[in-house]
Symmetry: D3
Subunit: 186 residues, 6 copies
């Protein structure tokens, strides 16, 4: 089972959802289960991926690998298997580093990262687990690394979106595709 | 200040965002700050409200007041002022109960609620703060109250969306409109 | 129900307790439930209000509103409905600010307060929830705001008394009077 | 130093406070530091001991030793040295058991206690640390041991008073008299 | 760097430590860094591996894979990169399952395990993080799965040893060999 | 009962374990229960005491009393009765201070210790409870007190070993000998 909930037949899906799935299949070679399982509710599916694209694909000083680091680190502290495994695979590929995902998922502050990346992940993890505790001092810790206020929004918005995503994955017991576990391990 | 970030001039906004703001203004008499502040990033704005509508407006066994209870209770444990105050106002109005929002924000298990509503909020609060700890036993506690698996998705999806929303509000230090504090207090 | 425990008939109460109730009724227009419910045990009632007066009425650099801020902030983190609602009302009145109580109850560090008041509440909240963690560094953070050692006792003593008060309210499930919810909202 | 704050000269104290100190000195052979240090503020001193007597000396199904167990167990989880050491001594004496205080301070659920006493301390420790989490289930766990609603008030009121007391001791860094450490050790 | 501390030259090591390293190298094809880094202190090295063998190699109803599950699950909650990566590799090999280690490290209760294995890991994780909270009820939850008191010792002793091991790895910032990340991934 | 598990007859024990017990009996006048209870599993017994000796008896800048302080402080936060009581006794004797053990067990930062000892215990307690949170800043806090990297290993290794020991004591419900409670109290 890849979800506690019914998984719709592909043929029965609305055209826009079919198209999105075919596009990812062409790129990845398979359809990640997040598409298949969330398609149970088309409106939530559409909003979910619109939000995903808005925060993950926008122009940003954060590299693609850095965005995935935020996903993996915050999903790690949220114990979200789907996001750790699926985005861990993507992180390995973007970073061209077969070790980085496990490091970031387990203990980001001891991973093979730059001080700037560690600062970024410290902020993201705090916002992920205790959003009420984020203070001016936490923002101040980002600034020496060159992060602007807009960059902090980028970091925070990815964290916020995966706070949602991790909870949906726990809620429906979303299972990562077997393919993800090995991808990018060199 | 209603946000740490720049607030766009209304005239400069894309038409769809203008339209959404005018619609809410007509209904509420003012534009809630969540619209004004998130408009700084139109793509995130659109995804945010699409998601909001998908989980808050869909057909559900949850009444409108019950959905707002989930928002207020989970925003309470996340110490999110914007959502407690703004959705507290909406909850008072939908529930036609001037006391209920403060009760739910501070201590839902002692609020003037039905056992079914208390069970719903216990599940939501757990998913909000420790999503990894949600277990079959937590779902089992909902079933005697008549909640189906689909109803549990409804509860969980609202919780997940406001996990995102609370973090965005903390991130940008979103300030509730003064109007909300008094609305629905009888 | 305003308490899990029996609430004594006014006529059966000792004279000093009757007098205290009549005095507050004259001032407030109603008798707050903390008086009515604690009167179930006259000796504890007397000690409770003697302690209350000793810390809340004594001469202090803390204004009346600031003392209530401490009550509301620490009762907020203790999820004590009675104290948040009743003292929130008093805070709104003393501060002549209809918004302040909800802000302080939910997230004091983002409330419309002075840096001095925020420092005071950070100390109080830490003493309220993890008294063992209060260190010299926490006292040092108060000093630049002009707080003397005696002022710190004032802050701490109010916090300590409401640690007791919050636990009594949870224990007996003390219910705030309906009147408090709307008081001072302008 | 027995307190961060000035300790008044005995001769300068109000008569009622002097009398209280002399009475305890006659009984114990020395004046416990809680009397000496709190005398810095006579009104708080009076309220403190009035409250103490109201909860610790009242008629109750709880034996004197059992009341001290509540003090020691809750002060243990609050890491309050004064109360663990001073009330530990009193507990050893009342229980005529030289081992019991260290057991209760460190790990009450594995102490040489009856199941009824362990249930009582589980309730007290929960109210002490997370008062908001106390639920009907926690009360239900006390009932098979014969605790009535009034007995639960007794347990809770002692816990609440020492929530105050522990915070005052941390606040002023109250030091236990050396005598207490050895008392009742057989 | 594989440790914050000096790593001894192989040639300078005592013979028994050399022999142990050569034995593991013959079996694994490389020397895991736990051997190389702990060799900085030969007496601790010897005690460490004697303890390891006593709990990991002894006759037990726990299979080799189940023992490694305990290591991976408890190291996961302790965020110990070395143990998650190195013992994750061993777990994949023993269990002949390329997916199991990531599942157990991130969220054991949703891993592809038997109910008996999930019960075992729930006990281990609780002992790992909050040893003081382990109660008779936690042991009772193991018994329907056929675990005897001796089996519970086995589970607990592995957990206890890796409580030590995780702390040593954090202390010296022990780095897993690159080889481990890919082993057993099929 | 001194353990949940069978306690072997002395006569049935292997000679090396007998010898170790007789040696400690000669020195202490009785056999501490940790020897008697762990003898149920001779291999674990041998590894346990080999590790104990490796960290507690090695040459170090830490005095014998300071090593015991680490044991007592970390066992205090782990609520381990055996280690608090048994090592508390040893600490009193080594430090020639009848008060120190209770102070260190309950609240090390307010104990009669040097700033250097308090810094040492702050590091140990953090490693004991949240090993993943130990950072460079925590090491930096030790350096002004003259602790070298090797000294930090000493502190950490003792902490790590008693993380194991505390869990074993909780697991088997190891009971301290009555003698320990009074030893060294002057």
């Amino acid at each position: 089972m890849i979800s506690r909930y019914p998984v719709p037949e592909f043929a029965t899906l609305p055209d826009d959802i079919k198209a999105r799935m075919l596009a990812v299949q062409e790129k990845a070679g398979f359809i990640p289960n997040v598409f298949v399982t969330l398609a149970h509710r088309p409106d939530e599916f559409r909003a979910f991926f619109a939000y995903h694209d808005a925060v993950m694909l926008r122009d940003s000083v954060l590299t693609k690998a850095e965005r995935e680091m935020i996903v993996v680190a915050t999903s790690g502290v949220n114990h979200c298997l789907y996001c750790v495994v699926a985005h861990g695979a993507i992180l390995r590929i973007y970073a061209k580093n077969p070790l980085i995902a496990d490091q970031v998922a387990v203990d980001p502050q001891k991973a093979d990262l730059t001080p700037r990346q560690k600062a970024m992940l410290a902020f993201a993890v705090k916002l992920a687990r205790t959003p009420e505790a984020v203070s001016e001092a936490d923002r101040d810790a980002l600034r020496p690394h060159g992060f602007s206020e807009e960059d902090i929004w980028d970091i925070g918005a990815i964290t916020a979106f995966f706070a949602l995503s991790n909870r949906m994955a726990h809620l429906i017991e979303m299972r990562p595709n077997d393919e993800f576990y090995r991808m990018g391990r060199g």
